[in-house]
Amino acid sequence: MAKIIIIDDDPDILDACSLVLNSKGHEVFTATNPEDGYRIVKNNLPDLIILDVMMNEPDDGFFLAQKFRRNKIAVPILMFSSVSQTVGMHFGINELVPVDDFVEKPISPSLLVEKVEHLLRLRRET
């Protein structure tokens, strides 16, 4: 069982993801904006952060991820993106984005579980 924080401005996405991750026995916290998200992460020190790339402003997610890293929060970050496969904005591992993996929206529950378990396993191993 792990502690996971999901930050996304769409409450339905938060609800659906919580449902899925709860059913796998994880404890899930949610936040709908970067400020609350940062506070909850600071207070709870989770095992994994799930972050939407676009909240109120495009790239909010990126800035928040950078803020975590700058403040020495080394928790793995899984990012929801709706643009990774679209032309013109191709995020890659070599492009200095401080996140560990991406899941493209719409989120498939089985894929989400797979990626979450993978990142948690990596964290346990190190």
Binding site: D12, I13, S23, S82, T86, V87, K105, P106, S110
Partner: protein
């Protein structure tokens, strides 16, 4: 240094390109003029029986040689010129050429008889060319100077202040000392020169203004297009957000996270899931096309087309197996040249082409993919024996959202954006795409289609 540049053109690259191009053109023309002058001297001596004096022959030869020499120097100098609006630039260079040419022509006119030579008409076309490239004040000054120098020469000859060089055999009676003749001819000459300058300059100005307006409207059009695409991206994105949530909830239900679901309901929910996936596919396609349209420049990396194609085919292997489609891949090229392009975009295009061919094959399918060398480019052909494209639809199949009548009636799902995306990507690479249906793999009830993509090397 006086600025000859019209205000709108100071930083207009195309303007400078035109001027540079025109300077080169003048230099080439001038070599022609040297040849013509030489031919003129020879032919008037031998064909028309016009006799030049020793002085005239020496003077004409010297003038011709000087033109040749200064033209050579100009050609050499041209390469070192920079397009700096406020320093010595190609426009000043045009002015220098003009002044040199007019001086040479004035000497030529003087040594072939002043007012008696037909060569003074050549001033008119020099003036017209000058009016097209130089600002009004500069060309008016030049025109007035030419007219006055010409008057001076004619009057000087009339009063015997300078010697007259008549061309023997051209006129039966000399005219340079006929006062009425020189006055009427000089006045008409001056009038013609000034009028041509004024008219040509007015027309040139109007053309410049028109060009400026065209450039402005083009910029406005481009800005409107960018705004439109950004609007489309915004709207589509807003639609995609709730669709994504719907899809995720459906997956939560369908993948059993909320417990078992009644089979009847499950079947319908699966349809809902399929239709919402279709809508998401559409939003993704529209986003792709809009972003492609907003893309000013694509990446220019060296690309081996064959590598991209192999990776696409590898990813599609399972689909070939599932539909039991035979694949024939031939690379007919002797030299495997690389092209410059965007790897990611080309992969999207090739992948769309192949999956399109696969999608519309019904049974005993064959897909032939052929790479060929063409002049200055590479040709990729993807040929299938699928359901083909009805003749009436062929023209429109690259349009956004267009779906051919036969695929609609047979119930194939799709957004109608696939070929539009391919076409955009190919055109961003300055390439072309054509389609033929029936293809050469056609058989009864299976007309097939063949897509031919050409990608230039540079």
């Amino acid at each position: 240094m006086i600025s000859l540049v019209p205000s709108w053109a100071v930083y207009n690259e195309e303007f400078w390109e035109t001027i540079k191009h025109r300077n080169l053109w003048f230099i080439k023309l001038r070599y022609g003029a040297v040849l013509m002058l030489f031919a003129f001297i020879v032919s008037s001596e031998f064909l028309l029986g016009i006799g030049f004096t020793q002085t005239q022959l020496v003077a004409l030869t010297l003038i011709n040689c000087s033109i040749l020499v200064y033209n050579g120097i100009l050609q050499w100098l041209r390469v070192y010129l920079k397009c700096e609006p406020f320093k010595f630039n190609p426009l000043h260079f045009s002015l220098v050429q003009m002044v040199l040419d007019l001086s040479a022509l004035m000497l030529l006119v003087y040594f072939t008889g002043g007012i008696e030579t037909p060569l003074f008409m050549l001033f008119v076309f020099h003036m017209i060319i000058g009016s097209l490239i130089l600002p009004g004040t500069v060309i008016y000054t030049i025109a007035i100077s030419v007219v006055f120098i010409f008057f001076g020469m004619v009057l000087g000859e009339y009063h015997n202040l300078i010697s007259h060089h008549a061309v023997a055999g051209l006129l039966q009676t000399p005219l340079y000392n006929n006062f009425k003749f020189i006055v009427t001819y000089s006045i008409v000459f001056g009038f013609v020169i000034l009028m041509s300058v004024v008219l040509a300059n007015k027309i040139a100005n109007q053309l410049y203004l028109m060009e400026q307006k065209l450039v402005e409207s083009l910029e406005q059009l481009n800005a409107a297009e960018v705004e439109k695409q950004n609007y489309v991206i915004g709207v589509v994105h807003e639609i995609k957000t709730p669709l994504s949530a719907v899809n995720s909830y459906l997956d939560v239900i369908l993948q059993g996270f909320l417990g078992p679901v009644n089979e009847k309901i499950l079947a319908k929910l699966q349809r809902v899931r399929a239709r919402s996936a279709e809508a998401i596919q559409l939003t993704n396609d529209v986003l792709k096309v809009s972003k492609l349209r907003l893309l000013d420049e694509i990446k220019k990396e060296e690309i081996k087309v064959r590598d991209i194609l192999s990776s696409v085919l590898k990813k599609q292997r399972a689909n070939f197996d599932r539909k039991k489609v035979k694949l024939h891949f031939k690379d007919n090229r002797k030299i495997r040249s690389k092209i410059l392009g965007d790897k990611l975009l080309l992969e999207i295009a090739f992948s769309n082409l192949v999956s399109n061919a696969l999608k519309y094959i019904e049974d005993e399918g064959v897909i032939e993919i052929i790479l060929d060398e063409k002049e200055k480019g590479i040709q990729l052909e993807v040929c299938d024996n699928g359901i083909g494209i009805p003749e009436k639809d062929i023209e429109k199949i690259f349009d956004d959202f267009y779906r051919a009548s036969n695929i609609r009636s047979k119930g194939y799902e799709g957004t109608g954006m696939g070929l539009s995306i391919i076409k955009h990507i190919v055109e961003k690479h300055n390439g072309t795409i054509e389609v033929q249906s029936p293809s050469r793999l056609a058989s009864t009830n299976k007309p097939g289609a063949s897509f031919i993509v050409f990608l230039p090397l540079e």
